[in-house]
Symmetry: C2
Subunit: 187 residues, 2 copies
DNA sequence: GCATCGGGAGAACGCTCGTTCTCTCGGTCG
DNA sequence: CGACCGAGAGAACGAGCGTTCTCCCGATGC
């Protein structure tokens, strides 16, 4: 096994276990066992658990950003539809088995108060979501606060869907987003 | 010191430390030192850390419910204003020094995947918030989904305010809530 | 064929933490 | 006044975890 596939397997495994149980409840030994990558190799690629956590979050950050824009470009035409498409994407995510909420919200809750790096990654990630909405609302000529409000709906949906285990918040948030978009001045 | 004040001091101290650093990063020894309650007494009142965590969350649940209805009754007249008053209450909370998000969202992220009791308390708490909104929207004759949507805005505001450290989401969510309330049919 | 190098498995180490135990002391009741 | 009870301080214990080390094996180069 070369270093690249080892790194990918470790990141995949760690991401799954962290999502499922939280970060601190997952030992390096569990990651080694579940991934099949030896501890020695694991520490060659990620010299500490903190760095592994960071790497998992950074990779997920990039994946979510790509999925967002990709889903928007694939399924929606125009800024109005692209803003709403975010909530369809959320609906698919919430329905995945084992969904337990947004990794950034959850990890911030667990480590954000003690690990500034984690807090920063979470902040950047949420800012990126807001910026994506802002692209669409700007194109519509809507006031800037609308992007913040759509982001609040999306994040609220993630939090509530994670805690309740229901995918419904996605559809509820989408309907609310439509009302806000329709009520916004200009176009 | 009698058992009652010891219990209160422990709960106060633990709540503060858990909010600040997360649950697992706070040892029983830190709680003993910060509260001045001896370990022996601490374990007499709360036989395990898990039970202490539960007690902290349950007390906070009750306090939030009381604060919500109390603030609504004190500052607002009528269901429309009482629904919006929630966001004013959030604004005050977000502005408190050291605010780091909703304890239930944060603790669910840290422990919800591994501790069903914690997950249940968080679920019940969020359901109570939704139910409070539902009281107001029912009184307005608005469709039931509006209560869920207001709850999404409130929870989104908590999550984003916690992560970004800004109190702005409260005002943004309130403005969005007003739009949703005004757009709802019937009255 | 043999020496060397790299990697895997897992034991070992040091630390932290939840929980319990020990020792001591002050207050109370007879 | 003296014996006992409860409480406080903190040491002690056992487990878990992040990290490192040891041992062994298979592959590679001369």
């Amino acid at each position: 096994m070369d270093a690249e596939t080892a790194e990918r397997k470790v990141l995949d495994t760690a991401e799954g276990l962290f999502d499922e149980r939280g970060v601190q409840a997952v030992g390096m030994d569990a990651i080694r066992t579940a991934s099949g990558v030896s501890l020695k190799r694991l520490y060659q690629v990620f010299p500490s658990k903190d760095l592994l956590v960071e790497a998992v979050l950074r990779r997920r950050d990039e994946a979510v950003r790509a999925a967002l824009t990709g889903h928007g470009a694939r399924t929606a035409e125009g800024p109005y539809e692209r803003a709403l498409a975010v909530f369809d994407w959320l609906a698919g995510w919430f329905a995945e088995p084992g969904f337990r909420g947004c990794a950034f919200i959850n990890t911030f809750g667990e480590l954000g108060g003690v690990t500034p790096v984690v807090a920063g990654i979470a902040r950047d990630h949420k800012e990126a979501l807001r910026a994506y909405f802002a692209e669409q609302t700007d194109a519509l000529g809507a006031p800037p606060v609308l992007a913040d409000q759509l982001a609040l709906l999306a994040n609220g949906a993630m939090a509530v869907a994670g805690i309740t285990g229901s995918p419904e918040p996605a559809a509820q948030a989408k309907a609310a987003a439509r009302v806000l978009l329709d009520a916004a001045p200009a176009s």
